[in-house]
Each structure stands twice: as C-alpha cells, then as structure tokens.
Amino acid sequence: MRFVLRRAGFFLLTLWAAVTLNFFLPRMMPGNPAVAMVAKFRGRVTGQELASLETLFGVNSGQSLPVQYVHYIGDIATGNFGTSLFYFPSPVIDVVRGAVFWTLGLFGVATILAFILGTGVGIVAAWRRGGLVDSIAPPVLVITSAIPYFWVGMMFILIFGLKLQWLPWSGGADLTATPGWNPAYVGSVLEHAVLPGLALLITAIGTWTLTMRNNMVTTLAEDYVRMARAKGLKSTRIMLDYAARNAILPNLTGFAMSLGFVVGGAILIEYVFNYPGVGYMLLQAVENEDYPLMQALFLLITVAVLVAILLADIATAIFDPRTRSSE
C-alpha cells in the first residue's frame, strides 16, 4: 500500500513539474511568443476572454510572476484551460474531448497489443534458444526498432494504400458517413484504423520483444528454474510460471519508461495518416500557433503517461510480493 502511495506522490510531483514547464516555457523562449499572442488578439476578444488569455500567458504586467503562477495553477486545477485560439471561441476542453476518443481507441489498443505480443514472442524466443524464433527475431527487431515511426507509416500508405488500394489511409473514418453506432460508420472506423494501428504495432513491438527476451535469458539461468526442472514440472509451466513471471517484472517498469517514446510515435503516425487524434491535434495547434490548446494537449499526454506508469507499478506490486513488504 505504501508503495502505491509513494508512486501516487511521484505522479503528482511530475504533474506539477509539467504544469510548471507549461507556465515558464513561453516566457523563456526568444521572441516572447506570449506577448505577441496576446497582442494579436487584443482587438478581437471580449474583456473576459482577454483576461483569461493574459492569465494563461502571464502577460498581465499588473501582476508579479509568482502571483500569475498561482493563478495559473488554480486555473489548471479547476479545469480551466482557457479558450482555443484557433477554434475560437470553443473552450479548449471541448476541443480536446473529441480527439481523446480517437487516440485512446486506436493507440491505446495498439500499444497494449504490442506489449502483449512482444512479450509473448520474447518469451518463446528465449525459451527455445537457438531455435527459429530466436535466430530471426532479434536481428530483425533490432533493425525495425531503428526505423522512424513515421516512415513505416509512409511505407504502409505507399504499399497498402496507394499501390494495392486495400485500405484507406487518411482520416479516422469516411467523411461522408454519418457518425454514430451504425454499421457503416463503425465499419469505416475499423477500416481506417488498420494501417495506422499496424504501423504503431510494428514499430513498438521491437523493444518489448528484445527486452523480454534478454530478461528471460537471464532468468532461465537462475537456480529456481533449474529446481523447477528437477521437480519434473511440465515445460510450459516452467516457462510461464517460473521464468516468465520473474522475467516480466523489470519489463513492466520498462514499459512505463518506453511509453514516452510510443507516445511520440503515435503523434507522428497520426500526422502521417491524418488521423484525428490527440497527436494530430497537437501538431495542428503548433501550426496554428494555438498555444492554449497546445499546452492543454501537452498536459493531457503527460497525464496519460503517468496513469499508465501508475498502472504498471500497481501491476508490479501485485505480481511481485517482494515490493509489498519492502520499504
């Protein structure tokens, strides 16, 4: 229990760090984008909206920096992310809501799949050292993990989208179909999800497989695995219950750390496929210089990563009895 509390504390600390970053970055950058931004909108918004913009950027020269900071934290804590500049006058929260659905749906699933599949292949590769899987998988995966995410996406578009014309490669769903739970729309959504999902799967799976395999190899040399053999247990049981269960533990923490990279990949893939998710929106916000939206999306992504890490930590606590008693 204490373990989980500690991690939750860390969660909050990192969240605070991200929020603070969001606050200070625009003020530290050359050209002071904050001031420029506010000036741009001065004539076009109501007094209240201007005020919130100014708070967002701390441009209000009437207040000192610490006071602005406190106001800013207050705003964020109450969910007031300000108004989007591009999708004016919609509040940022509303704009973001739609994108979250798309990203979670596709990439959440793809990441988890990549983890499960990758771990599985890693286990098999290590169990049958020198076998077919072990000889092919590691070198191939080393190379695929070095390929930039977006390039895989582009190649997919090229091969499956343009040349073979098997699958659509732009957007989240057919723009002409009416959104809703009707079969035409749902089918279109699934169709559009295949290529970007596969692209993410292929690039993300490499790291999981390699680390799992390496962990397994080390675990297989442990005495308790030998003891399991001595007891006459069945091969699969030894592989899963004794070796994999121990080998996966460091992988879970690694999962969390690599999530940062997967997020990056998801952003690029969304960009390449024009998939209307959080990443795509972030890049559009950058292009449109819609800073409030951009900041909110950054925070959102950070929160998502933190939640995933927390979940991985809870899983570790469940699976590894040693963490429960120590510290």
Binding site: R129, L220, A221, E222, D223, Y224, R226, M227, A228, R229, A230, K231, G232, L233, K234, S235, R237, D241, Y242, R245, N246, L249, F319, D320, P321, R322, S325
Partner: protein
Amino acid sequence: MLEVSGLTVEYATGKAPVLAVDDVSFSVEDGEFLGIVGESGCGKSTLLFAMAQLLSPPAQITAGSVTFSGKNLVGMTDKQLSALRWQKLSVVMQSAMNALNPVKSVAAQFADALRAHGMTSRKAIAGRSAEVLRLVGVDPVHLKSFPHQLSGGMRQRAMIAMALLFTPELVIMDEPTSALDVVAQRSLMVQIKELQRELGFAIVFVTHDMSLVSHFSDRLMVMYAGQVAELGGTRQIFDNPLHPYSKGLLEAFPGIRGPKVPLKGIPGAPPDLSIVQNGCRFLPRCPQRLDECATTAPELVPRDGSTVRCLLYAGACTNAQPSTGAKK
C-alpha cells in the same frame, strides 16, 4: 540403486572443450550417505547436476551412464525423466533464496510438485505439505509465506521438506548448509541424518567442508580437477588417507583435541582444465611426487578397500600394467 559409470561432462567453450567431469564412476546403495568433497571448481556441483540431468548449455554429458532404478538416465527425454523426478529422485540446492521461486508462496511451490505427479485433491496437497514441513521442524503456518519472508535456516529446511514430498529413494544435495552459520549448519545436518534414518532414503551430499560431512557420511569421495581422487569408507579415509590431496585436506583442518600444530594448507591452485595435461593433475601441488607423475596419468586402483588415483599405489597393485601415454 544408483550406478554412475564413466560420466564425463564437457563445457563447450568454442576453443578446446573443458572436461568439468572426467570419467567419474561410483555407486550408491539403498539408504547410504555418500559424501563428495573437493575444492571449488573441482566439478562436484557439475557432477550432481549431470546425475540429475539438469545441465544446461554449454555443459553437456558426452560419455558415460547414470543408472538409477535400473534405467540409464543419460539421453532420456524430459517426459521419460518426469516419471522419476521428485518421486524417486529429488534435489536440494545450495541457496534456498535462489532455488525457490521468489514470486510464489511456499505452499504454491509444494503444490506445483505434488500436482505435477498426480495429486489433485486440494486437501491432500495441503495435508502433505503441512506434514512434510513438520518433519523438518517448521511450523506449517509458514506455507503461505514467500521465500524472502523466511529466515535462512527456515528456507533451507523448507527446501529439504520440498525434496521429501514423495519420500524419494535418493536425495541429491548440493552444499545445502553453506549459506548458514555454524550452529544452524550442525542442527540442519543432524536433522537430515534423522530424516534419513526415519525415511530410509539415500543421500549424495556435495560439500567443500570435509569436517562437516565426516560425522554423517558412510562413504566419502574426494574429487580433484574433475576426477575421482579417492573413494572409500569415511572412517577409513579419515584414519588413513591414501591420496596426497586427501592427506592435505585433512591436515588443513585443526583438530579439537590433541596438541596445537601449525596448520598446513595445500599450496598452489587447481589446474586450468582447458589445458590438456599429460601426467597427474595434482602434480604441481603434490608433496610426494615421483618422476613418473609428470608423464604418466594415474588410473584408479583398489587399495585396502578404497580406490585411489595415485601412482604411489600403482605399483603395489598385483596385476596392474604401468599406465603409459597420456590420459584420454
């Protein structure tokens, strides 16, 4: 009951293979306690694992047989072996902390073995697990603990209890007391001997501590550099050690009684097994070397009820021809 004949284990190192165990033969009778002693690196642990067919690459059995219960274990598949494993032959390893799965409770690990060999009723499993823990003096309430929650001594006992789940005919032990303090060591050894008397299983006990095993073993096998140096009754070897190495080992332990004498160690270090040697492997450290020792590798010869691998006794053998040429 157990007959090991000409067992040889090679480590494939890419260059010349290293013979960790070189042509080792011995037998174990029902209910017997055989101690195997030697320095670190002499191959005794490898020998144990080879016997139980628990080697992993790059180690491989390249010659010899291990006949147990009438069947040769070498070359058997895992499936064939599982009929014998744990039910007739079990293993106790050196460090329970490493030998027990850290993420499974003690009860789960006992249940694993029981279920693998046919016991299905949860009640029966719980009953047997508790019974066997009580045998080694551990309160069955610890069944639900995890290995890291038990003390060192309790862990070792739990491991021994696990080995006795099916009351096997033979238990192989690899230095099970090395990780404990001296007091716990002795108490565990006494317990093991008790259990042996009660349940009647044979024990092959590997250790580097000769004095520890001397009180408990019936016969003793001294290993050096992968080969058997001397094999015979424990009392006999202690009273009258034949091989210079055995002599050296005994002289290195201080006696409790008698006058204080300066301790004598055995100078030098065990040989590098990757270099093939002509002649006796103990030569560089032997205080009783003969000229032939450099060129002639000694064979095992019987002498006064024991067998010993030393040229000092080769000539005394009546119909033995002098060994010529390099050892195989």
